[in-house]
């Protein structure tokens, strides 16, 4: 049976992890390559590396980080942050990434999804959407809006419509982050995730708000998520993705376990 994926996400700046999944059995060395490997060994189904480096010099550091992380990694690796052109994507793939995550660059230039998809396959293109419910709309979920710049700028699109466009332009997966839920540890936005997941025919990765094992169970059932991103899972009383999945398995959620 196809299983629901638990994905470990590492935020990287200037080659160091600044916010990662803080599993207790990991020594946080701050080194993304080492942490990515440890997460894979600890049962994560996939690794996402998000580069939040703003500077041009940082780009070279990122490629070196991807190269080192990929060298020992035998689960899928997605890299996001600052990929604006086909050439940027090519460099990241050559360094060993399996997928790229596009966010504001896809909004600014939707053709980019098609370009990368036609060269590397749709499976290699993940479109990341930062979403906020629209509290003023009659249906705040169906009318949830796309944001950029860390949730500060309204992109002028609704989430469901943008997700559908991304699919039609060749995206292979949607990484949906609820800016409302992010950092709250009060659960994923299951309603929003379900709205997007039922509107598109491609997998949806839920992100933002996880605070307990049952939050994952809920987003995989009510939220219809195909995968969920784990950040700061340390607080949930589980020590690794393996233990998280062991608990999900007892709740009859199909996960890759044993792993």
């Amino acid at each position: 049976m196809l299983t629901r994926r638990v994905i470990a996400c590492l935020d990287v700046r200037d080659g160091r992890v600044v916010k990662g999944v803080q599993f207790v059995d990991l020594i946080d060395a701050g080194d993304p390559a080492q942490l990515a490997w440890r997460h894979a060994e600890s049962g994560a189904d996939e690794i996402v590396l998000l580069d939040i480096t703003a500077t041009h010099e940082g780009r070279a550091t990122l490629l070196e980080t991807v190269r080192r992380a990929a060298a020992q990694l035998f689960v899928p690796l997605t890299v996001g942050g600052g990929i604006r052109t086909l050439q940027d994507a090519e460099a990241v793939f050559a360094a060993g990434a399996d997928k790229v995550s596009l966010n504001s660059a896809a909004l600014a230039n939707p053709e980019l999804m098609t370009e990368i998809g036609s060269q590397f396959g749709a499976q290699a293109v993940v479109v990341a959407i930062d979403a906020r419910r629209d509290p003023h709309a009659a249906d705040p979920v169906r009318n949830a809006r796309v944001y950029t710049h860390g949730g500060r700028r309204d992109a002028g699109r609704t989430v469901v419509e943008w997700a559908c466009e991304a699919e039609s332009r060749g995206a292979g997966e949607i990484l949906l982050t609820s800016m409302d839920a992010d950092g709250t540890r009060s659960g994923f936005d299951c309603e929003l995730t379900a709205a997007v997941s039922t509107a598109v025919g491609i997998p949806v990765i839920a992100s933002g708000g996880a605070g307990s094992v049952s939050d994952f169970a809920e987003v995989f059932t009510a939220g219809r998520a195909d995968a969920a991103l784990a950040a700061s899972i340390f607080h949930f009383g589980v020590s690794s993705a393996r233990e998280l999945k062991a608990q999900l398995a007892t709740q009859k959620i199909a996960v890759r376990y044993p792993c």
Binding site: M1, L2, T3, R4, R5, A40, D45, A70, A71, Q72, F74, V75, P76, F93, A94, A95, G96, D98, S118, Q119, F120, G121, A122, Q123, A124, G172, E173, G201, I202, P203, D226, A227, R256, C259
Partner: protein
């Protein structure tokens, strides 16, 4: 020495890295002369079946068919596996190698999500060199929208809107629909089995 055929279809880096991790010496080539001299061949591929038409024009197809006939071990991965069949509805004008019987078709729409992305189980395993040491129900990583039918050459199946061929083998020619280079310890074990496969 493992010869990895580069037909400009997606990303070879992961496959090469996994083979090197297992201690193999790897030659990446677009030259049919390298394929003619190859001891062991890997045909990777993600993306569109249309890309395999490049194998026809470059002479790589003839070189691979000759090698397969000589008993040179060959492993096709994902679209590389699909190419070993007669053809695919993804690009009806392109013919496959025809080493395996059957045609590759798309998952039906209106059921589960397509593409089939993620970790799924290997089932109905048949004995053989490729899957030695792999247990029923082990997980592998898939990402694809087209798949091959279950038939006489199938050595493992996976269920997603019905069963499809997860791994196939005829003589020394093997194909896997999943990505062994992305399937953790299970995938590395399968790649190692392939590297240890004896020429027949």
């Amino acid at each position: 020495m493992v010869t990895v055929v580069d037909y400009q279809a997606g990303n070879l880096a992961s496959v090469v890295k996994a083979l090197q991790k297992l201690g193999a010496e790897v030659c990446v080539t677009r030259d049919c002369r390298d394929v003619e001299a190859a001891e062991r061949i890997v045909l990777p591929g993600v993306g569109h079946f249309q890309a395999t038409s490049r194998l026809d024009v470059s002479g790589l197809k003839q070189a691979m068919l000759a090698a397969m006939t000589r008993g040179v071990p060959l492993l096709g991965i994902c679209v590389g596996m699909q190419w070993l069949y007669e053809g695919s509805t993804e690009a009806a004008d392109v013919t496959g190698a025809g080493w395996f019987p059957g045609e590759v078709t798309r998952f039906p729409s209106g059921g589960e999500k397509v593409p089939h992305v993620g970790w799924n189980q290997l089932e109905s395993l048949r004995d053989g060199a490729l899957l030695k040491g792999i247990a029923e129900g082990e997980f592998a990583y898939f990402t694809h929208a087209w798949r091959a039918p279950v038939n006489a050459v199938t050595v493992a199946t996976t269920r997603y809107m019905g069963g499809f061929a997860a791994a196939s083998q005829r003589d020394n020619v093997c194909g896997v629909q999943f990505h062994p280079e992305k399937s953790g310890a299970t995938g590395l074990k399968i790649l190692r089995n392939f590297l240890e496969m004896e020429r027949c």
